[in-house]
Symmetry: C2
Subunit: 414 residues, 2 copies
Amino acid sequence: MRQSSLFTKTRREAPSDELAKNAQLLIRAGFVHKEMAGVYAYLPLGIKVIENIKKIVREEMDAIGGSEIIMTALQRKELWEQTDRWDDEKVDVWFKSSLKNGTGVGFGWSHEEPITDMMKSYLESYRDLPAFVYQFQTKLRNELRAKSGIMRGREFVMKDMYSYTKDEAAHKAFYDAAIEAYHNVFKRVGLGDRTYLTVASGGAFTQFSHEFQTLDESGEDVIYVHKEKKIAVNKEVLTDEVLAQLDIKRDELEEAKAVEVGNIFSFGDVKSKQLGLLYTAEDGEQKPVILGSYGIGITRLMGTLVEAFADEKGMVWPEAVAPFRYHLVSLAGSDSDIAAFAEAVYEELADAGQAVLYDDRDLRAGEKFADADLIGIPWRVIVGRDAIPGGQVELVNRATGEVQKLTRQELLAR
Amino acid sequence: MRQSSLFTKTRREAPSDELAKNAQLLIRAGFVHKEMAGVYAYLPLGIKVIENIKKIVREEMDAIGGSEIIMTALQRKELWEQTDRWDDEKVDVWFKSSLKNGTGVGFGWSHEEPITDMMKSYLESYRDLPAFVYQFQTKLRNELRAKSGIMRGREFVMKDMYSYTKDEAAHKAFYDAAIEAYHNVFKRVGLGDRTYLTVASGGAFTQFSHEFQTLDESGEDVIYVHKEKKIAVNKEVLTDEVLAQLDIKRDELEEAKAVEVGNIFSFGDVKSKQLGLLYTAEDGEQKPVILGSYGIGITRLMGTLVEAFADEKGMVWPEAVAPFRYHLVSLAGSDSDIAAFAEAVYEELADAGQAVLYDDRDLRAGEKFADADLIGIPWRVIVGRDAIPGGQVELVNRATGEVQKLTRQELLAR
């Protein structure tokens, strides 16, 4: 893509009311637009990052048998009353409105209820189980405060998956597979080494739930990390009893701030009983389906990547999610030979299927480099004085600053 | 995909409260789930059709210079007050709610206002123009009645595009390009021969707007079609004056019911003036940006395809949008040789990158065929008695019923 055709521009300053580093950088670089506190639109560069993250998550969810669906924002009051989660005293993040005939409706802040209710149409016998469904859904939550940029929004994208199994053994098998799939996701987006499977409090059904916590100063959570065992314990369950259960000593743990990028938990048969999701077992008996729930905050993950990798010059995207792989910067100025060389490099990379942002704008080198640093594409290809007659480009790694001189052929061969 | 792993099932009956043919068939076949009137979730087969339609629309919008973005559901009251479209007397489809601090918010039923307001951050000079942006957005509209299935929903997916140009000439050039792109979209999804560019009433700025109307009995609109000239006139502008302008005689027109699958219109400089989207022209003067708006109802288009092509046995998907290209039906029964043959055909087609739904279920042939007819995948591949020892499969065209006998090699070579 030619940068001259990108309608967004970089800015020197973030809006004064934006406190979070992730949103400051994303707004300055033109990835997102702030509609109101906690509500962001995603612009061409931002939507590419979102789609790259979704692609990785989709592949990992499909690999463990997930089927993609998409539920609705509009929610029926009666349904949520059945599980006692309609009342604002019980759930304090509802946005509510009403149909023309006065019927109350809510806007989906979570989707266990409608998916589980829908499943009553499809899961009738043990032969229909297990079933694993997931969606990428825009959640709407009426948060009191929203000051963490895209990491805690009033409107945000979440991948939520639900498992429907016939018994505890089948549930446990999928739960464990989901843990592996989640590890794969965080590894692939570049956060593997700082993301910890974290023991957290369970609900009515199980003692524990599990969070995936990424160590970062921007995090709202405090966890206790066992680096050697590569697990962590959430503050809320840090008791001697739990430590003994996990075979961990208190002095082996390090306190750290972290971002909850994923969570998985068991609903057991509670919700199935409330909503009447029963199946006919092999023995002819009617039994409640066992439900598990598995979330990854897609936009939060994007914000976490900004927080985790940004430096003083701007963002640094891991290659797997970057909006483009290469940022081709032409320093041709008025030299038409260098300009033609840069055009040729752009065409070659594009023809080879590489994602390239081509800075073809008529600006000074310093401005172009500042923009490129801010935008944070992993590999910068500089076409300048070495191009003619030397035929070389400079390849700069955004994360390390390392510079290599390459010919066009060597660049293409990478 | 193995049909045994699909959690949805077909049903003989549609819900009794569902009046629209499109929703009846989509629900019976397991493509969609009705959450409430006019509000549908999309299940694995349904989401594939949506994504196929979006892919075609995305390619055509990108081809004319569109940049994809995604705006927000939550809308600021103050913004819509600036254009006098907040009041329920002026816009009667708002869903409204409020933040914890009492600030009123609405849910996006349209997005001209927020996109145009956002553009004030990016379009400052004639050098920044033109800009063309589009999104696939879930629109929320508080419709009084919703009884046309997925063709008029309270929650639906729309592609809306906006053009920002510096003058009428640039606007007209893009407007014409958009008409061509829209024709391409409707041609590619299989509705080209029954979709008419239709002259409709304009707004404050232009005499006419343009609709794309697909002839179908399920349509809510009445248009007057000039088959030879391949254009139509909406009832609302059918006057002698307009006919004279278009050089059409009244007796050359045929009245027909039609579905509005797309529309394009000019806002002129009205909204830019209201919201203060001004640019500095070449001569240094501040001028309002010219705005055009271009919509395609993605879910409505999906419903229209069902209505247009379904027969008494079920749906008939055009190849470009079908959830799968092939429906492989194994009639192996207890014959393990035929079963192995079917498995091999499945693997071969899948390896060749073909999208195949493989009916590997243990059901009678009649049930499998009834399901396949209902689901409506374009090509059915039947593996039955001709497989062993003849090595042949039957290829049946869902639309025409035409049958061919092919070897596996011949099937793969298609």
